[in-house]
């Protein structure tokens, strides 16, 4: 009979909390957006499933061995955790969990060892998160694969579009300032680290956002990742109104000079040059830009096609599956259902808008200062979101001048935006390191 009761106590229904129900609805919403609306499905679909799984009540897929031991262990084990965290004898499970989640590294590891020693296992999503994200490895491998997919040709043909990729990063740093001002006004309560992690959404680059959030504010990682990928998917809706508001019809009609042919040699040397510049100026950007340049060099060198193919396909796909599920681990109701998430959504949108505007305005400025005409519509592509943002530039351009194909011209600032946000990430790691 006891077993029957155990079994009922083991059902999800018995344990279901309202927060978990809401998070499951969030998971379904993401599935809908990924499958029916085509919102960055490669990431959003695994994130959605991870969200559903981590919120299955009682399944403990997101629990470490320590959390499982605290939640489901017997009284004597709980007492050992109380001792470990120097809590009073009447501290509840909730108190112990709170102490565990806020423990500094050494104590945290002792708690893990205590849980594992008592025979508890890490949950699947916790394991995936530790190996892929907490270690920092997964975003770097994605960056390597993206590097191997990137063609720097259009950028090399017109290097000054790098400046558009620089300007658009104002979306990142403007948002940091915004988050700080919100805190100062008492509306929110962000630390500098959290403000920086939120700002990086404006980089419009998923792996960079996850990389920085895991280092500066892992508690916000779920919301940041979801916001970053969602807004990347929404670029075709977000950008055009801003682009049109900041440009005149005549500016949008500007035809640009045909891009010159770029040689194989230039393409091979460029990633090496970037790497040298990183080494000289901003070592803290070395992991992200190093792996990005490595991937690109594998592609352009032409001598390691097998490795380039694998990093663009099997490897990046494997990593994407685990990365997505792992982000789900940070989509538990405690982590997601609070005011921060709302602020992240609002600030993330602002970051995208500001970045878009800054890119367009920079293009207008350059147009005023240089000889070769620049269509300001390609400035918006500086936010990254490759190749979506470049396609948006092209589409808006065609509306004003059906003969004017901006796609290739916009690819320059577009890939520059990737470099730009990796540089911004490096600045943040250096600032807080």
């Amino acid at each position: 009979m006891q077993s029957l009761i155990n079994l009922w106590h083991d059902t999800g229904l018995y344990h279901m909390e309202s927060g978990q129900v809401i998070m499951m609805l969030v998971g379904f919403l993401m599935l809908y957006l990924a499958i029916k609306k085509g919102f960055e499905p490669l990431l959003l679909l695994p994130i959605a499933v991870g969200t559903l799984m981590v919120n299955i009540p009682g399944a403990g897929l997101g629990w470490s061995a320590a959390e499982a031991a605290i939640r489901t262990g017997d009284a004597s084990l709980l007492a050992q955790f109380r001792d470990l965290f120097s809590l009073a004898a009447d501290a509840t499970v909730h108190d112990v969990l709170h102490a565990y989640h806020n423990a500094e590294a050494t104590l945290y590891k002792k708690a893990l060892a205590l849980g594992a020693g008592a025979g508890f296992d890490n949950g699947m999503l916790y394991t995936f998160y530790s190996v892929t994200i907490a270690s920092g490895v997964a975003p770097l491998l994605i960056f390597m694969g993206v590097g191997a997919m990137t063609d720097f040709g259009p950028l090399l043909a017109n290097p000054k579009t790098l400046l558009l990729g620089a300007a658009a990063q104002f979306g990142i740093f403007g948002t940091v300032a915004g988050a700080v001002l919100l805190t100062d006004a008492g509306l929110m309560d962000f630390t500098m680290q959290q403000a920086a992690a939120i700002g990086i959404i404006g980089g419009a680059d998923g792996p960079t956002s996850i990389f920085i959030a895991s280092k500066l504010a892992p508690e916000l990682l779920g919301a940041i990742a979801v916001a970053a990928y969602s807004y990347m998917a929404l670029v075709p809706l977000i950008q055009p109104p801003i682009m049109k508001a900041l440009t005149t019809e005549n500016e949008r009609k500007i035809a640009m000079v045909q891009l010159r042919e770029v040689t194989k040699g230039e393409k091979i040397v460029f990633p090496i040059a970037v790497l040298i510049l990183v080494a000289l100026l901003l070592p803290s950007a070395a992991p992200l830009l190093g792996m990005f340049c490595f991937g690109n060099l594998m592609k352009e060198s032409g001598v390691v096609e097998r490795l380039s193919d694998t990093s663009q396909n099997a490897l990046i796909n494997i990593v994407t599956i685990f990365l997505g599920l792992s982000v789900g681990y940070k989509m538990s109701s405690d982590a997601f259902l609070n005011g921060s998430t709302l602020a992240i959504i609002v600030l993330g949108l602002i970051a995208f808008c500001v970045g878009t505007a800054a890119g367009v305005l920079m293009a207008k400025l350059m147009n005023a200062l240089t000889k070769d005409p620049i269509n300001p519509l390609i400035g918006s592509a500086g936010v990254s979101a490759v190749p979506m943002a470049a396609r948006v530039s092209n589409k808006v351009g065609l509306e004003s001048n059906p003969q004017n194909f901006l796609l290739m011209h916009a690819m320059g600032p577009n890939v520059a935006g990737v470099i730009g946000s990796a540089v911004a990430a490096g600045v943040m790691i250096s600032y807080f390191g």
Binding site: F170, A177, T263, V423, V427, Y431
Partner: protein, 83 residues
């Protein structure tokens, strides 16, 4: 030395951040321009030596591009004659 206020830190990060981003990418503009000129002048690209040894193993699931070229050329001719 007292800790600067949060707002001051935020503005500082903004200014430094944008500064570094612009310095880095501006230098990259120059480096790229110089690099392109050097590469195209001093060392016009020769085809690299065919990759040795294990690189020679055929790619997974790959289709011989040569074959595809032959095939599609044939199909084009074929169509041309049909017109």
């Amino acid at each position: 030395m007292s800790e600067p206020s949060l707002v001051a830190q935020g503005l500082e990060l903004m200014i430094f951040g944008m500064g570094v981003v612009f310095v880095f990418l501006t230098m990259l503009v120059f480096v790229t321009n110089i690099m392109s000129k050097l590469v195209n002048k001093i060392a016009p690209v020769q085809e690299v030596a065919p990759a040795p040894a294990r690189a020679a193993v055929p790619q997974q699931g790959g289709v011989d591009p040569q074959l595809l070229k032959v095939l599609s050329a044939a199909v084009k001719e074929h169509r041309a004659r049909q017109k």
